[in-house]
């Protein structure tokens, strides 16, 4: 346990230091997304609306930044050739957070880093330390994004509530989705870290078994599939505001998000750990 704690502290110190600029980028993206929403509201709805109470909220900024896209059935896509445009804004945020955890674990196993596996006393200890590091990175990534949004909320003198106004919903989700009643991003916010951590742990397993390029490609493919389809095992859907239970009627619930994230985490940490504990590190070093 002491060794594990020591390893985690070392990883946080070394790994996070190299990723600091990405966290700053994520923070800037949060700030930029919120400012963009204000600009669009000013252009589309007029400046008077910006001053109205309850229109611009922290929840509205978050819903806009992580709006996502509604799913589309496979038959419609394949037979009619109708594809929704990909939610690039949402994809960028989620991919940036996945990128924070991408390179360091793989780098730390190469070269003299292999000595650390020996010093850790076992491969599982090293692996668990990396899993904890990934979770910590995801937490920090989302924290910087939310801090960016909150900062703009304070600067623009908007409400710090989690509710989403109808006007913002109209801009964020397009004309096709209308908010029926009071909408809130509470369940979306609660799902961000666990779901993202599950995805990143899966990426970590693929990275250490097949390589970082394959890990990144897997994450992009999973997020792409989530943007199109609406399967409960596709984690990306839980990170979209337009599919959240607090916003859309019959949307994806928080309990579903937690189950999905636990499954992803178990698959990533468990199966990845087993494969890593049996892998040939010496041959990898020679290659």
């Amino acid at each position: 346990m002491r060794r594990l704690a020591h390893l985690v502290i070392c990883d946080l110190r070394v790994g996070l230091a190299s990723m600091g600029w990405v966290l700053i980028g994520i923070f800037a993206l949060g700030l930029f997304s919120a400012a963009e929403l204000d600009g669009i509201l000013r252009v589309l709805k007029g400046a008077d609306l910006l001053a109205a109470p309850g229109v611009r909220t922290f929840g509205g900024y978050l819903a806009y930044a992580l709006a996502g896209a509604r799913p589309i059935t496979f038959e419609v896509v394949a037979t009619r050739g109708e594809l929704p445009s990909l939610p690039m804004g949402w994809l960028l945020v989620v991919l940036l957070i996945a990128y924070v955890t991408l390179a360091f674990p793989r780098c730390s196993i190469e070269g003299s880093g292999q000595l650390l596996v020996l010093k850790a006393g076992g491969r599982w200890c090293w692996w668990l330390a990396k899993c904890l590091w990934v979770v910590a990175c995801v937490l920090l990534g989302w924290l910087s994004f939310l801090v960016g949004l909150s900062l703009w909320t304070c600067l623009a003198r908007a409400d710090l509530s989690l509710s989403v106004s109808t006007v913002v919903g109209d801009v964020a989700f397009g004309g096709g989705v209308a908010l029926d009643g009071p909408a809130s991003v509470g369940s979306l916010m609660a799902a961000l870290v666990p779901v993202s951590a599950g995805l990143s742990l899966l990426q970590l397993a693929v990275c250490l078994v097949l390589g970082s390029t394959a890990g990144f490609a897997t994450t992009v493919s999973l997020l792409f599939a989530s943007a199109l389809a609406d399967a409960p095992w596709l984690a990306g859907g839980y990170l979209m505001a337009v599919r959240s239970a607090g916003i859309a009627t019959g949307g994806l619930s928080l309990s579903g998000a937690l189950v999905c994230s636990i499954l992803h985490a178990a698959l990533g940490a468990g199966v990845g750990g087993m494969l890593f504990s049996r892998s040939d590190l010496i041959r990898r070093r020679r290659a």
């Binding site: 600009g39 594809l83 690039m88």
Partner: protein, 313 residues
């Protein structure tokens, strides 16, 4: 063995246009091409692209069968667009299948995988310094740049060409009816780039797009190689370049929102420019000219930076 023969043939064939150069330059280009097109990562990128193209082909054939069945069953009332469902709509650039969209989403990343990192790797492991004793730096960089250009371009062009060949097996040959887009049968309208060619000569349309993608992909590869001096690893270089394209896409989207109050518009990112269907609402084609020129400037400027990196070693 076969792949070695293929890359050797490719390197010899592509070395023909540079016959006017010296022997050392030609040998260097042939060597670099053999390494770029015979490497494992080139094969991985190509296999990945070919799998997506094959999935697209299967979905297109299935779509044709389904719509053909509907047209036969209810043809008197409505033909379900079967008259416009010709080979060009089974090409990966215009077929709107999910696999095609994934192909164009991942393409800016997969283009970089084969050979872009090799320059930095050779600087770090001393191979570049060794090569310096046999040839001038300019010759080395020219060969490296050419190999990266060709390998990245081929990852984009080969799947598009294969898809064009397969499209003839998925749907019949014919010219699209320009009135088809009024009934949402055709994805290409007047606001798309090269739409005239699409209606008059669909094969030429596909070939022009393939050549454009080859050039753009090659320039993107060389431009990213210019930045490899500041990268610490291959993964970081490729993912950062990919995320840069996403940031460009995001910024362009914001400007389109704010200036034109629309979600689509002139795009400058490779997700838009590499895909024929991504070039919607681009009658001016500003992005189609500006982006390749911008990449060309970066690609030309890379030599100095790379040379400085080697001199340090």
């Amino acid at each position: 063995m076969q792949s070695n023969r293929l890359s050797s043939l490719l390197s010899r064939g592509l070395a023909v246009p540079v016959c006017g150069m010296g022997l050392v330059q030609r040998r260097l280009i042939a060597l670099e091409l053999r390494r770029a097109c015979g490497g494992i990562w080139f094969r991985v990128a190509l296999v990945w692209a070919l799998i997506l193209v094959l999935i697209s082909f299967v979905l297109d054939a299935w779509r044709y069968e389904v719509i053909h069945g509907w047209a036969l069953a209810f043809g008197a009332a409505k033909n379900y667009g079967i008259t416009n469902l010709i080979f060009i709509l089974s090409w990966v650039g215009t077929d709107s299948q999910p696999s095609a969209q994934l192909f164009f989403l991942m393409l800016p990343f997969m283009l970089l995988v084969p050979h872009v990192w090799s320059l930095r790797q050779e600087v770090l492991d001393g191979y570049a310094a060794h090569l310096r004793t046999r040839a001038t730096w300019e010759q080395c960089y020219r060969a490296k740049g050419f190999a990266v250009f060709v390998s990245s371009g081929l990852v984009a062009a080969v799947p598009l060409m294969l898809s064009l060949a397969l499209s003839f097996a998925a749907a019949p040959y014919g010219l699209p009816d320009p009135r088809g887009y009024l009934w949402l049968e055709l994805p290409i309208t007047e606001s798309f780039a090269l739409h005239g060619l699409f209606f008059h000569a669909p094969v030429a349309y596909a070939l022009v797009w393939t050549v454009y993608d080859f050039v753009l992909a090659g320039l993107w590869g060389v431009a990213v190689m210019g930045f490899s001096r500041w990268a610490f690893s291959k993964v970081k270089l490729c993912t950062c370049a990919y995320l840069f394209q996403m940031i460009v896409s995001r910024v362009v989207m914001t400007f389109n929102h704010l200036l034109y109050a629309q979600t689509a518009g002139d795009g400058f990112d490779l997700f838009t420019l590499l895909c024929p269907l991504g070039a919607a609402s681009m009658p001016t084609g500003v992005g189609m000219v500006v982006t390749p020129l911008g990449l060309l400037v970066v690609a030309v400027c890379f030599q100095r930076h790379a040379a400085r990196g080697v001199d340090l070693v």
